[in-house]
């Protein structure tokens, strides 16, 4: 059976819907499939790490209620999310999660 590949996005209950929407838009713009799931309450890094450990692409995204977004990789040790951003940069974080999967250089957060 063909296994579907995607990047899981684990978020806490009560996360701002705009943050989630932005992260998803970033992934969609880059053309990488994703799937969202609400997970038990924990910090953004823990969410991202759990997502990564279940991810067919070894990459996972976590979003916590406080608006922190992380991109984690299964191969990286605990306590070291690869990327951390605030919710307002969700779009770029989503894009970068996808670009990590594609092997493309990452985008900088535009200042100002």
């Amino acid at each position: 059976m063909k296994r579907r590949v995607y990047i899981p996005i684990f978020y806490e209950k009560g996360v701002e819907s705009k943050a989630l929407r932005d992260v998803c838009a970033g992934l969609e713009e880059e053309g990488v499939p994703f799937s969202c799931a609400e997970d038990v309450s924990s910090c953004a890094e823990e969410l991202g790490r759990r997502a990564a450990s279940l991810s067919p692409l070894e990459i996972g995204v976590g979003i916590s209620v406080d608006g922190t977004c992380t991109v984690c990789h299964e191969k990286l040790p605990q306590g070291s999310p690869y990327l951390v951003e605030k919710a307002e940069n969700g779009r770029v974080l989503g894009q970068n999660a996808a670009r990590l999967a594609k092997g493309l250089h990452l985008l900088h957060i535009k200042k100002g």
Binding site: A25, E29, K75, Y82, L83, Q95, N96, G103, H105, L106
Partner: protein, 609 residues
């Protein structure tokens, strides 16, 4: 009685010291050190650098500065080099009329021709039977933009393409019921003229646009006359190789390629005076330099680019040597063609066009360097007797001859930062030398300009170190295609990028540069300067002018330490049957320390005599 002697070589960029115990004509080398030259070569500012180098050398040797009985300083060659570069062609868009760029993720694919219209006007200002290209500003959310366009479609309005300011081409595309090509990330979207005929083309991933990069494609799209086609041809050329593009036809708008009046050079020589137009390119200039039979001076036509360039050079040299402006004469010139990426005036998405340019290195003969003053200052400061010993070329040859497997007659190529020097010694021990413009600094300038880095420091590092491309969290591809595994993950700032591999770590380069391109420009810059100069220098120094009559060529100097320059020269000279390689001074020092070593050895010989 044994004597401790230090040889000091003050170069344009580095100061080198060799420390040896000399006893009855035999020199036993104890230590050496290399440091940056302080101040302009041949000025009293050099003293602090020399003192530092000496201190380090005695430390290494385990002796005290006081034990040194004599310091020998080289008689520096009185030449100084300088660089200049300018474009000789220029592409101008008098009215904004094209967008050609490579967003990572444009939407859809295909070619669309229609009238530009803003998203806001879609509801009111449209007529049936007309094809439209929608211009979407960044204020418009992708959901909203897609909704408005779908709505218009339902009303029967024909939307064939779109131009978006933000990076959401794919997002909009995914939400459209009627699929169209979309070019996104157009920064200055407000410059896109509305109500004008335009064409949007997006190629499939891995392909490049075909219609808008073809002059006849453009003439077909816009129904142009032969005269108009000729005018629009530079647009097509500027769009070649892009994945997506927009061309907007504004009646008065045109793009022109202008040949800048770069001016003429007048070369005054021993045999002939030759005049050459800079627009003829570097090859013609270099042929003219050869025709002069030995360059005496160069003048640039007043009021032109090259005139300004040469005057700038003279001014700079006059400032740094303290000689009057009118006394500066250019003794050698190395010109090379350069492809310079320049941002196009009136561009809407930061497009660059590659213009042709000429880079020039020139060398100026100055009056004798006041090395005696440096020697005096050094003597006063350290309380050790300092002497100025011998001609630099002779010292360098003496040092180079300590390379195992060499013998006179031989030629040394001193490849430094500011100039390329050659010295030859024949069977009778007679020495001759030449000094040519163009060396390591020119390579750096070319790399900086051709990669549009705008950072001399970064260009210097590109020159000195090999590249890699980080392809995953744990893998890096090297220039030769091999993969390097890393035990710890690469940080986000280098992920997916071309990097400079230094001992200290990785330095990322701008994302638009590919490893192949950077490598090609780096190698070609080195070849254009050092291979060209090696051949020029050898031709001038061989009495017969036929470099096949040489057998040994030894490379010394900072640029001989480069990881690829010596191989390039070895390869090229190999074609003439010459044994060429970089020196290994005293069998241990590599291409460094030749002059300092030569200074000490000369002193040792004087002892025996």
């Amino acid at each position: 009685m044994p004597e401790l002697i230090a040889g000091v070589d003050i170069g344009n960029s580095s100061t080198e010291v060799a420390l040896a115990r000399v006893d009855g004509g035999r020199a036993e080398f104890l230590a050496q050190h290399l440091t940056k030259t302080t101040g302009v070569k041949g000025t009293v500012d050099n003293v602090s650098g020399i003192r530092l180098a000496l201190k380090k050398a005695v430390e290494k040797a385990g002796v005290s500065l006081k034990n040194i009985s004599r310091i020998r300083v080289n008689d520096a060659v009185p030449v100084i080099g300088d660089l200049a570069m300018d474009v000789i062609s220029e592409t101008l868009i008098t009215e904004s009329s094209m967008i050609g760029h490579n967003p990572d993720t444009p939407g859809g694919a295909g070619l669309a021709i229609g009238i530009t219209i803003s998203l806001g006007m879609l509801a009111s200002d449209t007529e049936a039977g007309q094809a439209y290209i929608v211009v979407i500003p960044q204020e418009a959310d992708y959901e909203w933009a897609a909704y408005k366009m779908n709505q218009a479609c339902e009303r029967g309005i024909e939307i064939v393409g779109a131009i978006a300011q933000k990076d959401d081409g794919v997002l909009i595309y995914n939400r459209l019921r009627h699929k169209i090509p979309i070019v996104d990330e157009v920064a200055s979207i407000e410059k896109v003229p509305l109500g004008k005929q335009a064409a949007v083309e997006v190629a499939l991933p891995g392909y490049v646009i075909r219609t808008l990069s073809n002059p006849y494609g453009l003439s077909t799209v816009f129904g142009l006359t032969p005269e108009e086609t000729r005018q629009i041809a530079p647009i097509a050329r500027a769009l070649v190789g892009n994945r997506s593009a927009v061309v907007i036809r504004t009646p008065q708008g045109e793009i022109v390629e202008r040949r800048i009046e770069a001016g003429r050079l007048t070369l005054y020589g021993r045999k002939n005076n030759v005049s050459v137009a800079v627009n003829d390119g570097a090859e013609a200039i270099m042929q003219s330099v050869e025709k002069t039979g030995g360059l005496l001076d160069v003048q640039g036509e007043m009021g032109t680019n090259v005139g300004g360039m040469l005057n700038g050079l003279r001014q700079h040299l006059s400032d740094s040597t303290g000689q009057p402006f009118s006394d500066i004469t250019i003794g050698d010139l190395l010109a090379t063609d350069a492809s310079l990426p320049v941002s196009i005036g009136g561009a809407m998405a930061g497009e660059l066009s590659v213009e042709s340019g000429v880079a020039m290195a020139s060398m100026v003969r100055t009056e004798r360097m006041p090395v005696e003053k440096v020697a005096q200052a050094l003597e006063e400061e350290l309380g050790i007797s300092v002497e100025v010993g011998g001609i630099e070329a002779e010292m360098a040859i003496r040092g180079a001859l300590t390379t195992p497997g060499t013998e006179a007659p031989l030629v040394i190529l001193d490849m430094g930062g500011g100039s390329t020097d050659a010295a030859a010694v024949n069977e009778r021990g007679e020495i001759s030398s030449v000094h040519l413009a163009g060396a390591g600094d020119m390579v750096t300038m070319l790399i900086d300009a051709e990669l549009a880095l705008g950072d001399r420091e970064l260009a210097e590092r590109v020159k000195k170190h090999p590249l890699g491309k980080v392809v995953s969290l744990f893998h890096m591809q090297l220039e030769d295609g091999t993969m390097l595994f890393s035990g710890s993950p690469f940080p986000p700032d280098v992920y997916g990028r071309v990097v400079i591999r230094e001992e200290g770590g990785l330095t990322p380069l701008p994302a638009n540069l590919s490893m192949e391109k950077v490598r090609e420009i780096r190698r070609s810059a080195k070849r254009r300067v050092f291979v060209t100069n090696a051949l020029r220098a050898l031709k001038q120094i061989v009495p017969t002018q036929n470099i096949r009559h040489l057998s040994f060529v030894v490379m010394v100097g900072g640029s001989a330490l480069d990881f690829e320059i010596p191989q390039m020269v070895t390869e090229e000279l190999g074609k003439y049957g010459i044994v060429a390689g970089f020196a290994n001074v005293r069998g241990t020092e590599g291409p460094r320390n030749a002059v300092a070593t030569g200074l000490v050895l000369t002193a040792a010989r004087e002892v025996t005599l």
